[in-house]
C-alpha cells in the first residue's frame, strides 16, 4: 500500500495554487491529507500532481467577528477543539470537533480539507449545513462565496470547480440553540448516522429558523426540510421530539452497506433526531 507516482509543489500564494490547478485537471490539493493519504495508499486516487497548501499564508486563522466567525481552510480539527474563543463564541464547533476520528488525526486534518472532500460521513459537512455556513473559494477567475445549501452536490462532490481552492468557512454568530448527535460504534469510527440541529427561539419559547442536517446514513449530506417544517414554530419538548422522529423516518432514503441496512439507519436516524430535538430543550 504505497502511493503511486505524482509530482509535488507547495506554492506560496492562493493565486499560484489556482494557476497550478488550472494547468492540470488531474492535479489535487493536499493539506492535512488525512482523507487523501489513505486513498493514495490504496491507489484509489492517482493524481498527477499534489499542490500542498502548507506554504500559503493566511489560511490557518480563526477570526471572531461581530456577526460571523471565519475559519481558515488550514485550521485543524484540533485547533477548533482547543480554541478558547470558539468555546465561548460558538461552542457547537469545538463540541463537534471531538467526534472526529482520533486526537492523532485531528492534529493534522483540516476543516477545509474535510469540507472540500465532501464526505457525507464526515462531521463538518453536516454541522456546517445546520449552521447555515458560507464557503469561500478562490479560482483563476477570482473569489466567490458559496452558500452551504448549494455546496454539497453528491457523495464526495461539491459545487467547487476543479481549479478552485477552498480558503475559508464563515459561520453566522446568531443566538441559536444547537444539538448534535452521532451514532458511532467506537472511537474514530465513521458514524452510522449524524444529525445536527440549530434553531432560534422566540420570546414565547417557540422554535424558528430551524435547520436540521443529516450525514453518514445518506449519500449526500442534506437537510431534512420536512423535519424543519414540523418543528418550526413549535415549543420543544417530548411530544415535539417524538413528532420529529416520525417525520425524520419518513423523509429519508438511507444508504445500505455492510454496517447497516437502509431500514436500520432509517430507524436509527429517527432516534437521533428525537435525541437532538430533546437536547434543544436544554438549549445553549
Amino acid at each position: 500500500m504505497k502511493p503511486p507516482t505524482f509530482s509535488y509543489v507547495a506554492p506560496g500564494s492562493v493565486e499560484e495554487v489556482t494557476r497550478l490547478l488550472a494547468s492540470d485537471p488531474d492535479a489535487k490539493i493536499i493539506s492535512g491529507g488525512q482523507s487523501l493519504m489513505p486513498l493514495l495508499a490504496m491507489r484509489l486516487a492517482g493524481p498527477s500532481m499534489l499542490v500542498d497548501l502548507k506554504a500559503v499564508n493566511g489560511l490557518a486563522r480563526i477570526g471572531i467577528g461581530e456577526t460571523e466567525i471565519t475559519i481558515g481552510a488550514r485550521v485543524t480539527h484540533h485547533d477548533i477543539e482547543s480554541s478558547a474563543e470558539l468555546a465561548s463564541a460558538l461552542p457547537l464547533l469545538p463540541f463537534v470537533a471531538r467526534f472526529i476520528a482520533h486526537p492523532q488525526i485531528r492534529s493534522r486534518g483540516t476543516l477545509g480539507g474535510s469540507v472540500a472532500h465532501s464526505d457525507p460521513s464526515a462531521e463538518w459537512p453536516t454541522v456546517l449545513l445546520a449552521m447555515d455556513a458560507t464557503i469561500d473559494v478562490v479560482g483563476p477567475r477570482g473569489g466567490r462565496s458559496i452558500a452551504v445549501d448549494d455546496f454539497f452536490t453528491g457523495p464526495f462532490t461539491s459545487s467547487m470547480a476543479f481549479d478552485e481552492v477552498l480558503v475559508a468557512v464563515r459561520v453566522p454568530r446568531a443566538d441559536r440553540r444547537w444539538a448534535f448527535q452521532e451514532a458511532a460504534r467506537k472511537a474514530g469510527d465513521y458514524g452510522l448516522a449524524i444529525v445536527a440541529v440549530t434553531a432560534g427561539v422566540d420570546a414565547d419559547g417557540r422554535l424558528h429558523g430551524c435547520r436540521v442536517a443529516v450525514g453518514a446514513c445518506v449519500g449526500t449530506t442534506t437537510r431534512l426540510r420536512d423535519v424543519e417544517d414540523a418543528i418550526d414554530g413549535a415549543v420543544p419538548g417530548e411530544t415535539l421530539a417524538a413528532r420529529a422522529e416520525a417525520v425524520a423516518r419518513d423523509s429519508v432514503q438511507p444508504i445500505s452497506d455492510i454496517h447497516g441496512s437502509s431500514e436500520y439507519r432509517r430507524r436509527l436516524l429517527g432516534n437521533l433526531v428525537r435525541r437532538a430535538v430533546t437536547d434543544l430543550t436544554n438549549g445553549q
Binding site: K2, F6, Q104, G188
Partner: protein, 164 residues
Amino acid sequence: MTTTPQESLHVSVSVNGRTYRAQVDARKTLADFIREDAVLTGTKLGCEHGVCGACTVLVDDAPMRSCLMLAVQADGRHVRTVENLADGTELNSLQQAFQRNHSLQCGFCTAGILMSATALLEQNPTPTRAEIVETVSGSLCRCTGYETIVAAVEEAAAPAEERS
C-alpha cells in the same frame, strides 16, 4: 517553499534532534522516511491507512500518523519517535509504567501508543481517565485488551508520591 512541481525533492527533517537530509520521491511517506532514511525502525506500519496508530510520531510536538503524511510535508519540521524517549541508559517514567503494568505483549503497536501518550502528558500532565481513554483509543492493540495501557498512562501521570 517548493514552487515547481517535482517528482523528487530534497528534504531536511529533524528526527530526534538530528537533521536528516535526503532526496526523496514526492510520494514517499514520512513513515518510510523515518524507517528507511533516518533508519529508525521503532516506528511501525500496521495498516498504512491511518487507523491502527502504530506509526504515530510527534511532529512539532503534536501526535500524527506518519503514514498519513508525506516526507516532503515534514520538510523543516521536528519529528520525535519512540527511540527518543529513553536516555540511552534507562527507560523513562512512562516506559517504566508500561513495563510495571504489563501494558504490552508483542510490542508492535507500542511505539504509537507511547508517542500518543507522551503528547497527551506533555500538553496535560494531569489528564482525566476519559482523556487517557480517548488518546489510547487512537491505537489498535490486539494483545493486551487495553486496560493495563490506560493504567500505565494514569500511573505515569500521577506524581510519584501518589503511587502506591
